[in-house]
Amino acid sequence: MCSKLLSMRSLIQPTNAILRQVLICQNKTTPNLKTFTTSPVTCVNFFNKLPAEKLWKSVTSVSNAGAKKGRGKGAGRIRIRDLNRGQVIGVGKINMLWPGLSAPVIRGRELLKQQRLPDDPDRMEKIIQLRDSMTKFRRIRLSPIERGWSGSRMPGRSIGAPDPIGEDVFTGFDTKVLQLRSLLIMKGSLGRTRNYQAMVVTGNGQGLAGFGLGRAKEAPAALRKAKNRAGQKLMHFEIYNGHTIFHDFYTAFGKTKIFVQKKNEGYGLKCHRAIKEICQAIGIKDLRAKMEGSNNLQHIVKAFFIGLLQQRSHQQLAEEKKLHLVEYRAENEYFPKVVASPSEVRTKEEIPKDETLDFTQYVMNDKVILKKKKFPPFYESMPHYKLHLKKYEKYRNHEKIRLNLKSEYGEVKSFLTDKYPEEKVETET
């Protein structure tokens, strides 16, 4: 590989050499015609015999067997470079001023003359750097805030508010890409063509949100379409106490099933990343969602939106059941707080025997979340772990004692340390 690169670098030199030769020829021929010969000058070598295309092919091509083995791919792959990039006509290794070519003929009132300017030592380096930048694959670095779910890939990235419609501007909105993928479509005339499909969610973090799907030949166009469509399909959601949903619910779309649980403040969003983005767009802060079945992203989004829309407020629930809805909070010592009362309450005799009275079961539509059994970590059954426990049993309270001593005396010492000062000296030495 090294040799190939070296050979490429040497490509530059011949052109210069030819130029120089021509110059020399001109210089020589005009004053003295004696040296003029009619025999052809052979200016043909390996580098100017073949077109650039073929030369490059000889460098970059991989044999059939090699391609099968996966050579010529990935990091070590050689790419074709445009050697003309960065080169300007009239500017060369020797820094000459050519009026009419690399400079104007008249500058101000002065007629410029052909002259040699001081050499630019960095010129070659700059060109090489430019060529290197063409070949090396560079990942776009984004600041951690701008990054999506996975680096600079689009999903998870923010693409701003939807475009204003007429005079209506989407202030306070932000759009997150949920999915951007290429679809291949067979066309009769064109064969296989590539389309891009994007799914985005937009919201203002205060209850308004919507999702949109856009398709286009190019990725940015697809994103823009999806974003604007999402802006057109906004829905409003009530948020319970400004931080979570009203109650647990079960929702499904196709084979995707989602079990969503209401959580208290400070719990956070523990769910699929797409659901997390949706919640952030709406303004929900605490929730847990478990998925079962298919994890098709578009289905997840649709199912979650359906579930949110089908929520019932506490008053509605109480009216449906014709019973008081009472809330118990651990931090309030489980004080029964009536959150909703129906207009008329049923008595105990009026309730049929097989009616579901359990709140969670009722709002979850009798669906139960599968709770997998938790197994102990693998190492707990191993002999070394038992040895470790035995060994460290006697140190079990040491940290606490150290802390207590430090808080009491300012260092790890006890009343016995003063009694036996010789011990301290020994430990220090």
């Binding site: 038992k386 426990l389 035995k390 049993e393 006697k394 006890s414 009343f415």
Partner: protein, 133 residues
């Protein structure tokens, strides 16, 4: 808990002789004793039948030695005919549960005697110093 609880897991025969004794726990340079009942012919490192108390022989910051005694269970085992080892008998004697053990009196007397002798030696040394001066 990885180690068996010190409060007693040892198996025992109902009719075998039992003994209430001190069993050293703690670590190097830091003695600490459990008052436990075990079978008489059993090593102190083996699990005990039951722990009956504890004894910390190192005086704490207030110059006190702490002893804990589960008197109800001690009475039970004594009723079963358990033998009491001399150090435990001394502790129980000091606590007023037993009569004072003779060895306690002996130790006290010996301590007083050595103190007296040391005092006498000191006086002598001072006198000889004065005489020399």
């Amino acid at each position: 808990m990885s180690l068996p609880p010190a409060s007693g897991t040892g198996r025992f025969f109902a009719k075998a002789a039992k003994s209430i004794r001190l069993i050293r726990q703690g670590c190097t340079n830091r003695p600490f004793f459990h008052i436990s009942v075990t079978q008489r012919r059993r090593l102190n490192s083996q699990p005990v039948i039951e722990q009956l108390g504890s004894y910390d022989p190192m005086p704490n910051i207030n110059n006190e030695k702490l002893v804990a005694l589960n008197l109800e269970r001690i009475k039970y085992w004594l009723g079963k005919g358990a033998h009491v080892s001399p150090p435990v008998a001394e502790i129980l004697g000091l606590s007023g549960f037993f009569p004072i053990h003779p060895r306690t009196y002996m130790t006290a007397w010996r301590n007083r005697r050595t103190e007296r002798e040391n005092l006498a030696k000191q006086l002598e040394a001072e006198k000889s110093k004065e005489a020399a001066a």
